[in-house]
């Protein structure tokens, strides 16, 4: 229908450049700043929640990965499982030496549980052990665990033969010992031992945190203990960990491989990471609800704007605005509202994450998809929220719009 009027120099074409569309769209916000801020807050909260939660979750897993990297994912823990017969099963006496023969294994450390309690002094009743276990441990135990000492020193070739004990982090706390002061003695079993060192928490073997570790030599000499290892910690080359794991049981106990239980210590940490993901989903859901509510808020404000600015619409139509120009003005206004809200939300989300990671001493990671997702979803929401009001404004007849009564 319009074809006959195209390309005729005497018939003008109504024109509005992109820059002017943005300017005109922004003009509605400029004169109603307070309302603009209020209506954008919903989007801001929603986007801030999403960016903050995704940032925190990523920062948290980055921290966990860092921790895992430091601890290594190649530590296998071998211990006696539950056999078919009743009663306690144990690892064969030669378990450690058998494991050492597996090719990709480069480090083997063992512990053996020693019966008896650990006491601050010899006046405490035998029953009050405070849940501390005595372990006889290898000299390379801490190294295999990639653990570190909070104070003092770990057992050496020499000290492992003497009544010297190294306390796990929790055990030391329960005994009220936080530093190594001269010749501090405690009762291990029924013998006085000197505290030689205190360990920092071991992330891959929480059992040892509640342990009092003495040398195999000392265990035999002073506590009359000569049982073989209960737990074997095995470090294998990372690329072969799964292979080593699969042959482990049969190597340790060829007759009854089902009595051998093999676990990968880092699996626990990974499970922890998976648990936080569930929590993250919950908050992402909450953020999405806030976004939805924010979108409805913007749509509401835009519908009101169209009603209030009826005369402006009529005037613009009289000045030469087409239906499309009117629609684009209101759509742009809605998009600006939601985008400003979204960008503010992204900044707040980043800030909140930064503050939290500084407090937690984590690495700050803001995933790109959170920022992109934030921008895209605010644009989408602005577009959807503004669509109906824009259409309504565009379809208002100029004569109707210019009416003042």
């Amino acid at each position: 229908m319009t074809d006959q009027f195209n390309n005729r120099p005497d018939i003008p074409v109504s024109h509005l450049g992109v820059l002017d569309i943005i300017r005109v769209g922004g003009s509605g916000l400029k004169t109603r700043r307070f309302r603009a801020v209020l209506s954008a807050i919903g989007i801001t909260i929603g986007i801030a929640t999403l960016v903050g939660i995704l940032g925190l979750s990523e920062s948290g897993s980055a921290d966990l990965i860092k921790e895992l990297d430091a601890l290594g994912t190649n530590l296998l823990t071998v211990q006696a499982g539950e056999g078919f017969q009743a009663g306690q099963v144990s690892l064969p006496a030669d378990a450690a030496s058998m494991i050492k023969r597996i090719d990709p294994v480069y480090e083997v450390a063992t512990i053996s549980r020693v019966s008896g309690g650990v006491f601050r002094n010899d006046l405490i009743e035998d029953g009050r052990t405070r849940g501390i276990t005595i372990f006889a441990g290898d000299l390379n135990l801490v190294k295999a665990q990639r653990g570190s000492l909070k104070a003092g020193a770990y057992l050496t070739d020499t000290t492992s033969e003497f009544p010297i004990v190294v306390l796990g982090a929790v055990a030391a706390e329960r005994l009220g010992i936080s530093e190594i002061l001269g010749d501090q003695k405690i009762v291990v079993g029924d013998t006085w031992f000197t505290v030689g060192g205190i360990l920092n928490p071991l992330h891959l073997a929480a059992d040892l945190d509640r342990g009092a570790i003495i040398g195999y030599g000392a265990a035999e000499k002073f506590l009359d203990h000569d049982d073989p290892a209960d737990v074997v910690y095995v470090r294998a080359y990372p690329e072969h960990v799964n292979d080593v794991r699969s042959v482990m049981a049969a190597t340790v106990n060829p007759q009854n491989p089902e009595e051998v239980q093999v676990s990968r210590a880092s699996d626990v940490l990974e499970a922890r990471a998976a648990a936080t993901t569930t929590f993250t989903s919950l908050f992402v859901g909450l953020g999405a609800v806030a976004l939805l509510v924010g979108g409805v808020g913007i749509a509401n404000v835009m519908v009101m704007a169209v009603i209030e600015r009826r005369n402006e619409i009529g005037l613009r139509r009289a000045l030469g605005a087409t239906r499309f120009h009117i629609a684009s003005q209101f759509l742009t206004e809605s998009l600006l509202l939601s985008t400003i809200g979204g960008v503010t939300g992204i900044l707040i989300g980043i800030l909140a994450t930064a503050v939290f990671t500084i407090i937690k001493d984590w690495i700050l990671v803001i995933p790109g998809y959170a920022i992109m997702g934030g921008i895209i979803s605010s644009i989408l929401i602005g577009g959807i929220a503004g669509f109906y009001p824009a259409l309504r404004a565009a379809n208002l007849s100029p004569t109707e719009a210019l009416r003042t009564k």
Binding site: F5, D10, K30, T31, L315, L319, T404
Partner: protein
Amino acid sequence: MALADESLPKAVELKRVSKSYAGTPPVNALSDVSISVSRGEFLGIIGASGSGKTTFLHIVGTLTNPTFGSVFINGLDTAGMSDRVLAGMRSKYIGFVFQEYFLLQGFTATENVENGLLYSGISASERRDRSEAMLERVGLSHRLTHLPNEMSGGEQQRVAIARALVHSPSFILADEPTGNLDSKNTESLMELLVSLNDEGTTMILITHDLDVAAMSKRQVTLRDGRILSDSYVQQGSVND
């Protein structure tokens, strides 16, 4: 006194225009109206309320289509023009002035006048220059950066006139421009319209106020949607 220039196309020409609105019974707002306005004319449309003035304004302003008949703007038949083309026609050939001024609050006088050029594809800097020049022409060079609520009604209406004129339209369509003004401001605004007409601007003034209509050189009286009289008059006197 500028005389009608017959060498250019007619500013407006209505040929047997009727407009009726649906209803029971249907309302015939305009019936068989034919009129042509040459360039340079100062036409006063006079009528009581319900006479069809507003419908006449809407038809001549291309804001609505007639039920029957043809509307020519600057010699171009508007029949069959799309929304986009009609908007373009308004942005180039027509300058609207309304009783309520319709200035955008929160925007300066200059920015309001610039809106008169917004949809005609002129650069922002030229829009500014032409708007400032036009405000100077209507006597508001000292009000360029004032907001509407900082100006009197008379000044606001002058801003609206500058906005209607800034794109050099074929004619100004003024709907009761003095309706919200006191007698002193009415007088000075009419002086402005007369002087703009003297410089060649075609004026179509719609009013119910006979004193205001008396300033026009040609008076058309509407009653019940029909043209009752159409006569050229001596300036400053009312000729029934």
